[in-house]
């Protein structure tokens, strides 16, 4: 069952007289519960595609459906509501709110976005902090946590609203190998339990190797995709595994 379906999606940024085609007619689909990586060099359009899927931006052309909703049809407030109820975000720089503790950061979307009752809120927050191994650090503020710990809190925050989709933009870029693996594994196990769809933009081979499907973007075009049984070693040449993109 498709959660995301993009048909000939394009995005043009205009700055004065200059136009930049960030996405040039991308067609793709992502199944519900998938663990997907979008890879490509810097400036290839990974983040643009993620922003469109995350309803943070609207496509300039084509059609993009997320959970059955046409992204282009959403107004500003509707987009916020949609994001709050369907999508979780994980950022490269963690983006925790510095004045709140780890617990409060995870709790934030349940109060400010979903208005969940206090008892249920406590249960959901505690469950997720436990799942990411941060129960014992929950009263610390972000400046008292390491990079890996901050990202675990960010993962818990992204998942606490029980979204159908989690979007992660370079989630391991600022982390060392061990810490990065310590982030990917809980995400994968959570995915297996909850059937949440994970979409990463990355050029981190550690994530690429954990993905079940990989989309490769270059110069705003989808250059190929491939499915893999998760857990392959990244010593194998990634380029060998690409398939041609589906016909538009």
């Amino acid at each position: 069952m498709e959660l995301i379906a993009g048909e000939n999606v394009s995005k043009v940024y205009r700055s004065g007289e200059v136009s930049v085609n960030a996405l040039k007619g991308v067609t793709f689909s992502i199944e519900k519960g998938a663990f997907v990586s979008i890879v490509g060099p810097s400036g290839s359009g990974k983040t643009t595609l993620l922003n469109l899927i995350g309803c943070l931006d609207k496509p300039s052309g084509g059609r993009l459906l997320v959970a059955g909703t046409d992204v282009a049809s959403l107004g500003r407030a509707d987009s916020a509501v949609f994001r709050g109820s369907h999508i979780g975000f994980i950022f490269q720089s963690f983006n925790l709110i510095p004045v709140l503790t780890a617990y409060e950061n995870v709790e934030y979307p349940l109060i400010m976005v979903q208005n969940v009752a206090a008892a249920q809120r406590r249960e959901q927050v505690q469950d997720l902090l436990e799942a990411v191994g941060m129960s014992d650090q929950q009263q610390k503020r972000p400046d008292q946590l390491s990079g890996g710990q901050k990202q675990r809190v960010a993962i818990a925050r992204a998942l606490v609203t029980r979204p159908e989709l989690v979007l992660a933009d370079e989630p391991t870029a600022n982390l060392d190998h061990d810490t990065a693996m310590g982030i990917i594994r809980p995400m994968k196990s959570i995915r297996e339990e909850s059937r949440t769809t994970f979409v990463f933009s990355t050029h981190d081979l550690r994530i690429i190797d954990e993905a079940e499907r990989i989309y490769r973007i270059e110069d705003g075009r989808l250059e190929g995709s491939r499915a893999q049984e998760g857990g392959r070693g990244h010593d194998e040449s990634v380029a060998d595994r690409w398939q041609e993109p589906p016909p538009v």
């Binding site: 922003n51 995350g54 943070l56 931006d57 500003r76 407030a77 916020a80 509501v81 949609f82 994001r83 709050g84 109820s85 999508i87 979780g88 975000f89 950022f91 720089s93 983006n95 709110i97 510095p98 004045v99 709140l100 934030y108 979307p109 109060i111 400010m112 976005v113 925050r157 992204a158 609203t161």
Partner: protein, 412 residues
């Protein structure tokens, strides 16, 4: 909502020194305005009290046109007994009125048998007069604090110039309304302290003596001074009396009476109005202080937290909640500043009151400053501060709530 408060509060504590500096500006502004209002209010109240309680009364009733000609104290424009009875009947009916005092005002010559000079005189019933202007008898600097028949209370400057003392015999000569001159020998019963404003340097004698000097066949009254139980009802009573007495007209269909408040009778009203304007300007300064300081802090706060705003927006926080969060920060600063400022103001006003600072005004010396501020005034000042705080944080808050999440997340 509680969570918005919590986040707003913590954000304010993020840069404690900056928040404290802004708060101290607001506190200083509130303190300055409240103390200024208390001190000037005390000065104004005291001066109004001095003027109305010494000689003017709260209201005065004259025959129409009398005030325009008051410099000549025309006896032809006095109120006839029938008109006076009408006024007195109306005054008796009004529960807001404490007392009234009919006066016969006239100009005459004052002689100590060696020299003669001009004098303005009020013929009054001492009991009615002291009920209407309670400081009347306390103005007697020398002599008994009373006014008997056959006595005159001489204003101090005149007494000094004419070298008369209490107990001296003097003569008052006046022209009556028919143009004939009459005089009466009187004894100086007291020397009267000058008071600020017109009529503050008039002499006083008993009404019966005035009637005798002016050879009046019936009591004709120049003015009726009125005292209210509650000075705060001045304009309401003035309106009622004006409406009631305005219905009275002469055979030519013209109104008979004029009702005037002290404001229309004393030039001090202009000073009092100026004090009010100064207070208004001080309040405008407070508004400017609060507006600039809170706006500055909130603009900084939004600028520093662009990525944070982007994150909040991305994870689904509605724009109105982002707006509310920033407005609450400004509002909290305003409330805290107003509360601390109000408490400090009350303390400062109490200390100034204890210090019993004295000052002189015109010829009145040793007036004690008694600053006082009521709860309503403090609440008004606090209300202004809080309202301006909200206003000042609105623009930065709107900017935050309208931020594009992608641009905000990409902000460095």
């Amino acid at each position: 909502m509680m969570n918005l408060w919590r986040i707003a509060g913590r954000n304010l504590l993020r840069y404690k020194r900056r928040t404290l500096l802004t708060l101290s500006l607001i506190v200083f502004g509130v303190l300055f305005v409240a103390v200024f209002e208390a001190v000037t209010g005390s000065f104004k109240g005291m001066m109004i009290g001095q003027i109305t309680d010494s000689f003017l009364g709260h209201l005065q009733i004259h025959r129409k046109g009398y005030l325009a000609a008051i410099e000549t104290l025309p006896l032809t424009m006095n109120l006839k007994p029938q008109a006076v009875r009408k006024v007195e009947a109306m005054l008796k009916e009004r529960p807001e009125i404490e007392a009234w005092s009919p006066r016969i005002k006239f100009g005459g010559m004052f002689s100590n048998f060696l020299e003669t000079t001009h004098i303005r005189i009020n013929g009054v019933d001492p009991e009615w007069e002291s009920r209407t202007v309670p400081l009347f008898l306390s103005r007697i600097m020398e002599g008994e604090k009373t006014l008997k028949k056959g006595e005159i209370l001489v204003p101090e400057l005149l007494a000094k110039g004419m070298k008369v003392k209490v107990g001296d015999a003097v003569v008052v000569i006046a022209t009556n309304r028919d143009g004939s001159v009459n005089g009466k020998q009187l004894v100086v019963g007291g020397i009267l302290e000058s008071a600020t404003g017109p009529g503050g340097r008039d002499g006083y004698l008993h009404m019966d003596d005035a009637i005798e000097i002016l050879r009046m066949e019936e009591r004709e009254i120049s003015e009726i001074a009125v005292r209210l139980k509650d000075f705060g009802l001045l304009h309401k009573v003035h309106e009622h009396l004006s409406a009631q007495l305005g219905e009275e007209s002469n055979p030519q269909g013209q109104p008979v009476f004029d009702v005037d408040t002290w404001e229309e009778l004393s030039p001090f009203y202009n000073i009092a109005s100026m004090i009010d304007i100064m207070t208004l300007f001080i309040k405008l300064m407070l508004i400017a202080i609060v507006l600039i300081s809170i706006m500055n802090v909130m603009i900084m706060a939004v600028y520093e937290r662009v990525r944070e705003i982007g994150t909040m927006s991305a994870i689904g926080t509605l724009p109105r909640k982002i707006l509310a969060m920033f407005v609450l920060e400004g509002f909290s600063m305003g409330v805290a500043g107003a509360a601390v400022g109000s408490v400090l103001s009350a303390a400062a006003i109490y200390v100034i009151d204890l210090a019993r600072i004295s000052f002189d005004f015109s010829r009145q010396t040793g007036l004690i400053l008694r600053p006082d501020i009521d709860l309503a005034s403090l609440l008004t000042i606090s209300g202004i501060v809080v309202a301006v705080s909200i206003l000042a944080s609105l623009q930065p808050a709107l900017k935050a709530s309208r931020m594009d999440p992608i641009e905000a997340l990409g902000h460095v």
